[in-house]
């Protein structure tokens, strides 16, 4: 039973355009959400997070939107740059501190 779902295994976006990565979750107890980025042969690195008391968090080119009623969050990257090509993992946690990850979306930024 997958509690965090990233339904797009891959996404290709032109350099300079907006990249939108989507994530859905099923557990209504989740109240904290994170995005991690992973390059090949490296461990994931933290990108941005959002608490359920907010619906938007912005950090430079990265913005995360949370829609609690739809149990959906998205990561927007604008403008997309070549270095953004990586696998992006959506993750969520509840009060138990356990972080549950999705399967990831591979983002390709096209020149």
């Amino acid at each position: 039973d997958q509690q965090v779902k990233q339904n797009s295994p891959s996404l290709s976006v032109q350099e300079g355009r907006i990249s939108i990565l989507n994530c859905d979750y099923t557990n209504s107890m989740f109240d904290y959400f994170l995005w991690y980025k992973k390059y090949p042969a490296e461990g994931p690195t933290f990108l941005i997070s959002i608490s359920s008391i907010k619906d938007k968090n912005e950090d430079g080119r990265f913005t995360v939107f949370l829609n609690k009623s739809a149990k959906h969050l998205s990561l927007h990257i604008v403008p997309s740059q070549p270095g953004d090509s990586a696998v992006y993992f959506c993750a969520a946690s509840a009060q138990d501190d356990k972080i549950i990850f999705g399967k990831g979306t591979r983002l390709h930024i096209l020149p």
Binding site: E42, P44, T45, F101
Partner: protein, 115 residues
């Protein structure tokens, strides 16, 4: 070292053998997580330590898997009688308190291949 260190980086073992995977977290990080990533899959939660105790072992796939942490530092993940389906990259992460509130830093992982 400055980051999370995992050893070995690669391990090939014969089916049925036991393996030990080691994680050295960032000094001072009380929370430590183990995850597994099988080919084409996401990060599968295995176990979480707060200090030396593991409040949540629910992710361990079977009783062949065990983990311990000592001195609020090094952690060892042990897989007994390895099976081919255990082949995966095993990732360790640590954070100052819980990765829920503070950034978790991941190691580069141990790639385990069971032949």
């Amino acid at each position: 070292g400055a980051g999370v260190s995992q050893s070995p980086s690669n391990k090939v073992t014969e089916k049925g053998k036991d393996v030990e995977l080691r994680c050295d977290p960032i000094s001072g990080h009380t929370a430590l997580y183990w995850y597994r990533q099988r080919l084409g899959q996401g990060l599968e939660f295995l176990i979480y330590f707060q200090g030396n105790s593991a409040p949540d072992k629910s992710g361990l796939p079977s009783d062949r898997f065990s983990a311990e942490r000592t001195g609020e530092s090094v952690s060892t993940l042990t897989i007994q009688r390895t099976q081919q389906e255990d082949s995966a990259v095993y990732l360790c992460a640590s954070s100052v308190q819980g990765a829920r509130w503070t950034e978790a830093f991941f190691g580069q992982g141990t790639r385990l291949t069971v032949v």
